[in-house]
Symmetry: C2
Subunit: 275 residues, 2 copies
């Protein structure tokens, strides 16, 4: 927990995408004594609406002005952004005036560039942004070998190859993961998402030791938004597609349910390694 | 035509993958007075076997020692490598001794690193390597606007974004093309090939002006092997997936049938632009 804020003085808004993360954050925030609301940006009614007494409001992501109005009305002081947001088809969205204003600043920025502008706008409105990891205990990918078969030199070579690609890409503010096998970069992630990339690499792999997923935040990435995440579904999917390892930057990648992730990897002979 | 060799003194081997390029090269080499053989590395019997009097020999790509022996036996002096070779599933291949020797040097190199080692081995055997473009007139992607709707500032911004990504990636010796739309990098090519990437980006695109394919050789890439290529099929595929433009590094990307490519792009309202 960050000591920088006190739940009793805070009113939290959980701005929620898809996946398990938002409900974990809500549960934990609630236990920690926070009060607040949920802004549901997904197309569904939100899996988290019945988990607590927190009111849920559904918004389209383009209605940034209306979301800000609601946050002010609810006297929100702190904001956490969490869950996958299927990269919004930006040019398919209807923006309100505030949204258009922000979008005009975001055009032709990379992922991080866009998120930095958005965060500045949120802070300009008087809200503080908190990282989802603040609410999850034991949620950082650990260092070294943590599950599955012991890593060998070959794994370390593969990681070095993949990490170099990601570092070079990160200068262009794109890409959070790659798949490497036998020194060959099978797949590079752009906006399709890690799951789609795992499936693709599964079709491109050769025999021998299975491919490895290498995941890291971009250099200088603000981990309060869009921090790379893995969970048990990542491990299961990688296993199903013949991978041998998931290797993440330690303290850089968020793990949902670390203990379950470790169990799942041990059961499926997937090496988890924090580099 | 390179003035460095004389067809009458040369015996050419066309080492042939898939696609239209090998038969174009064979036709042109034959017209220019070359004699030689074809080494067919594809799984098919080769589309080019009946095009000329040149003998065709079929080999597995792993049998590098046996290929070298054949080239010596046929008194080959010059070699041209052309056509797509579906990235061989290296670890699925059976290598002869020479092949294993070369593979041990190639392990954990990027694409270009591997090709440089292979070319050195070929040259050590006494053969000269010639670029496929030597045999194709008018085959370099031209500079500026050459087909389809006139480019606007937006296109130039998209190209800048994509080219920056490719330059950064090229330091890792991977990636020859990307797809960009509205400043967002929709897809980055690793080993899946350009066609697969175009199809993927087609599913990820948003509305408004269609995505553009940006293609360039890697920095310092030896254009005698693995030079990026486009042809009418690339244009048709891009059109089918809603693209607005194909933009290539001029003099860096090989075009098969430039005039037909320009016609095809004009008919389908695809901008072709050499940056």
């Amino acid at each position: 927990m960050s000591p920088a804020f006190n739940p009793l003085d805070s009113r939290l808004a959980i701005i929620s995408g898809e996946g398990d993360l938002p409900s974990k954050v809500l549960k934990s925030a609630s236990l920690l004594g926070f009060q607040g609301i949920v802004i549901n940006l997904t197309d569904t009614d939100g899996q988290i609406k019945n988990l607590s007494e927190w009111k849920t409001f559904k918004f389209k992501i383009g209605n940034i002005g209306r979301i800000f109005k609601k946050l002010h009305l609810e006297k929100i002081t702190h904001i956490v952004l969490c869950g996958n947001i299927d990269r919004p088809k930006l040019y398919d969205m209807k923006f309100d005036i505030k949204g258009l204003d922000i979008m005009s600043k975001i055009a032709f920025k990379g992922d991080d560039g866009a998120l930095k502008i958005l965060s500045k706008e949120i802070e300009n409105e008087g809200f503080n942004i908190i990282a989802p990891s603040t609410f999850l205990r034991n949620s950082n990918f650990p260092k070294g070998h943590i599950a599955g078969p012991k890593p060998n030199d070959n794994l370390l070579n593969e990681i070095e190859r993949g990490y170099e690609v990601l570092k070079n890409l990160s200068a262009s503010d794109v890409g959070q993961s790659v798949v490497v096998q036998h020194g060959i970069v099978l797949a590079i992630e752009a906006i399709e998402g890690t799951d789609e990339m795992i499936k693709r690499a599964g079709k491109l792999k050769s025999s021998g030791t299975g491919p490895i997923l290498i995941k890291t935040p971009k250099l200088n990435q603000d981990l309060r938004f869009d921090q790379p995440v893995i969970g048990i579904n990542t491990v299961k999917l990688a296993h199903r597609h013949g991978f041998s390892s998931i290797s993440c930057k330690y303290d850089g990648v968020l793990v949902i349910d670390l203990n379950k992730v470790i169990d799942t990897a041990n059961h499926r002979n997937i090496t988890l390694f924090g580099f």
